[in-house]
Symmetry: C2
Subunit: 120 residues, 2 copies
């Protein structure tokens, strides 16, 4: 519970084991960071995102994504939804097709998540 650690900074505690170890990230921040990484924690989502990132014009629609990953259309739709909810891709309905592109803040989102866990 965030233990404001008014405890004695000194003594034998550290001697018995190791140092008291600061609180690290708070639960909320950690949840947010984990949410971003969770979106990238599936091989097929990684592939899908990489395809979109490399796509000509920077965007791709579902119909172009199913074949490369070898998944059913609903499954690909599901994965893209997760990527979109994580803020990693954007979805734009244009005519009959839904075009996905890497979100502008995607890179920064991931980088800041990394920085939160592993500060320089």
């Amino acid at each position: 519970m965030t233990t404001p650690l008014p405890l004695a900074p000194t003594p034998a505690d550290a001697a018995g084991c190791c140092s008291p170890a600061g609180p690290g990230l708070d639960a909320d921040t950690a949840t947010g960071v984990a949410r971003t990484f969770k979106a990238l924690a599936d091989p097929n989502r990684v592939r899908l995102l990489s395809i979109v990132a490399r796509a000509e014009g920077g965007e791709a629609c579902i119909c172009d994504l199913t074949d490369p990953v070898g998944l059913s259309q609903p499954t690909v739709s599901h994965h893209m939804r997760l990527l979109a909810e994580a803020g990693l891709v954007t979805r734009e309905q244009r005519g009959r097709w839904a075009y996905f592109a890497v979100a502008p803040q995607a890179r920064q989102l991931v980088e800041s998540s990394v920085a939160a866990v592993l500060p320089a």
Copy 2:
């Protein structure tokens, strides 16, 4: 199934939808990348890693980790095992205690995973 239309194979296909979209990352690479992110896809693991990263001396033992995250000792041990298997932390048995530290290649591991998905 790419709809075996006997129609003209060449032209309207690309015109109808978007570009064919390159293959993106291969399955093996994507699996590796996802493995790294999967280790970071749990809030408690994120917290644990951040605690170790910020720990005095750069290392912490299980006994110092259970309290901050509020999990049982077996659960913390389990999470640290996963982080270690992912190559993000190292484990060193010293006396009765097991000291965990951020692995030297941890940052590079994560960074290269990011770069694999989202090339600059």
